[in-house]
């Protein structure tokens, strides 16, 4: 009985150690190169290259929430909840994600932003957000477009 319990506890700790190891392996971004990456994310304009990959049909989509008086406020709330963690509270970029007030983003069509939001940029760490219902994604797009370009250039 005691032996079985000891074996179980050992197995649990082995798995816990393995889990911690996985956590540690997935930490190199913040741990080793956070500072470099932060600067790199801000300056690396290739992060905006994804915008150009949106299909024409998606680019041409109109924002159905464009004239909704509550869309900006609702989008702002959703941005705080889901996006600010990576893109920063003012959307000017954070440790992990680029500024959304950059010229490239602000000049993109609402359809393009909606497409990026829906599909994510999984390779670069941005998850897909299609789990948010379409109207909520359009509300976020409306909010982003309402921000306008950042006053200071990010370089």
């Amino acid at each position: 009985m005691t032996l079985t319990r000891t074996i179980k506890i050992t197995a649990i700790f082995r798995t816990a150690l393995l889990f911690i190891l996985i956590l540690a392996l997935s930490l190199p971004v913040p741990l080793i190169s956070a500072q470099k990456e932060s600067a790199a994310v801000q300056k690396d304009e290739s992060v905006y290259a994804e915008l150009a990959k949106a299909p024409k049909k998606a680019v041409a989509r109109r924002n159905p929430m464009e004239h909704d008086p509550e869309a900006v406020a609702a989008g702002g709330k959703l941005f705080d909840l889901h996006c600010a963690e990576c893109h920063g509270e003012t959307a000017e970029g954070g440790r992990k994600a680029p500024s959304l007030r950059a010229r490239e983003v602000q000049q993109a069509t609402p359809g393009t932003l909606f497409w990026i939001l829906t599909n994510g940029v999984v390779r670069r760490g941005m998850p897909v957000w299609s789990k948010l219902p379409e109207p909520q994604r359009w509300q976020i797009v409306t909010y982003l477009k309402s921000l306008g370009p950042a006053e200071k250039p990010s370089e």
Partner: protein, 315 residues
């Protein structure tokens, strides 16, 4: 009396009913966890499913801590209350890894720890498609007394859970489990289908199969402008059905169990999610009733916070 988070002792203690003098220690640990929770900002946007998986992975760097509980009726034996703690971490945007610790209380019998599971979900496709596949791999090391019923496979049935804990825990299961998760979200509706294949590492048991399907939708698709707890968009409701499909030698519905379960999730602005799911057995092999509920908390930026604590970049 010592007030320390001695997890080893805690793990051992749950194999028996906790003596009253140990409770302050456990409360201290839970309080410490609750305080730690306040240090992170987060927002959960969770699906209501308890058994079925959709194609959404944990956000990279986020840790979700969950507690799930299931009350089940048992014909020809004692009813039970099973529970598990789940630690779900988004290693990358395409890979989520999870650790489960399982336990159960069988009424008029005992409370025991029943084992652990380690699962991984990998998203092979970068973008959203008409149907989105996710690959799932799990290793489980549990005893025969495990009753969390996180998945139903092979010829699993109510009779398997009727043995006493003392007898059932003598059986050890080392199993590999594979799932293909398919999911699609359209007009607010999520439809998900999971196909399961499991193989015991020890022994010559055949491959066993199972399934889970689910559909869910938020009660409102538009977000309201103000933060609110009881707004309709914070509630997601749906239905899931799951069961076994026999094994390699006897594939099909014969001698299998199946459940139908309405599900509802409440995503609170305070970053907690509550889930509730009463499940109903669809045939005589199934438990007549399973009441499941769970509470979870997502810690966004967990990876980055730990990185900073260990000397990484300070913002």
């Amino acid at each position: 009396m010592r007030l320390g988070c001695n997890w080893r002792r805690f793990v051992i203690d749950v194999t028996r009913i906790n003596p009253p003098h140990r409770r302050p220690g456990v409360l201290f640990c839970l309080s410490a966890l609750a305080l730690a929770a306040l240090a992170f900002s987060a927002q959960a946007q969770e699906s209501p499913y308890i058994i079925t998986y959709d194609h959404y992975l944990e956000e990279p760097g986020s840790l979700e801590v969950e507690y799930f509980s299931a009350f089940g009726t048992q014909r020809g034996g004692n009813d039970f209350h099973s529970f598990f703690a789940e630690f779900e971490y988004g290693a990358t945007a395409w890979w989520t890894t999870e650790l489960y610790l399982d336990g159960q209380t069988t009424f008029n019998d005992s409370t025991i720890f029943t084992g652990f599971r380690w699962e991984n979900r990998i998203r092979p496709l970068q973008r959203e498609h008409f149907i989105n596949p996710v690959l799932y791999f799990e290793y489980e090391h549990i005893s025969g007394a495990d009753k969390i019923l996180k998945e139903i496979e092979g010829h699993d049935g109510e009779a398997d859970a009727s043995e006493s804990n003392a007898l059932a825990r003598k059986e050890h299961k080392h199993e590999l489990e594979f799932k293909l998760l398919l999911s699609k979200t359209f007009k607010g509706w999520n439809i998900a289908e999971n196909t399961l294949a499991a193989k015991s590492i020890a022994g010559a048991n055949p491959w066993e199969f199972g399934y889970a399907i689910g559909a869910s939708r938020p009660l409102a698709l538009k977000a309201s402008a103000k933060r609110c707890s009881f707004c309709r968009e914070n509630f997601v409701a749906g239905l899931e059905m799951y069961g076994g499909l026999g094994d390699r030698h006897s594939f099909g519905l014969h001698d299998t169990s199946h459940y139908l379960a309405p599900v509802v999730a409440w995503n609170m602005p305070s970053n907690w999610t509550l889930r509730l799911s009463p499940g109903f057995g669809l045939n005589d092999n199934s438990h007549a009733f399973l009441l499941r509920w769970g509470v979870s908390r997502e810690f966004s930026g967990f990876g980055a916070t730990i990185g900073r604590m260990l000397g990484g970049h300070k913002q």
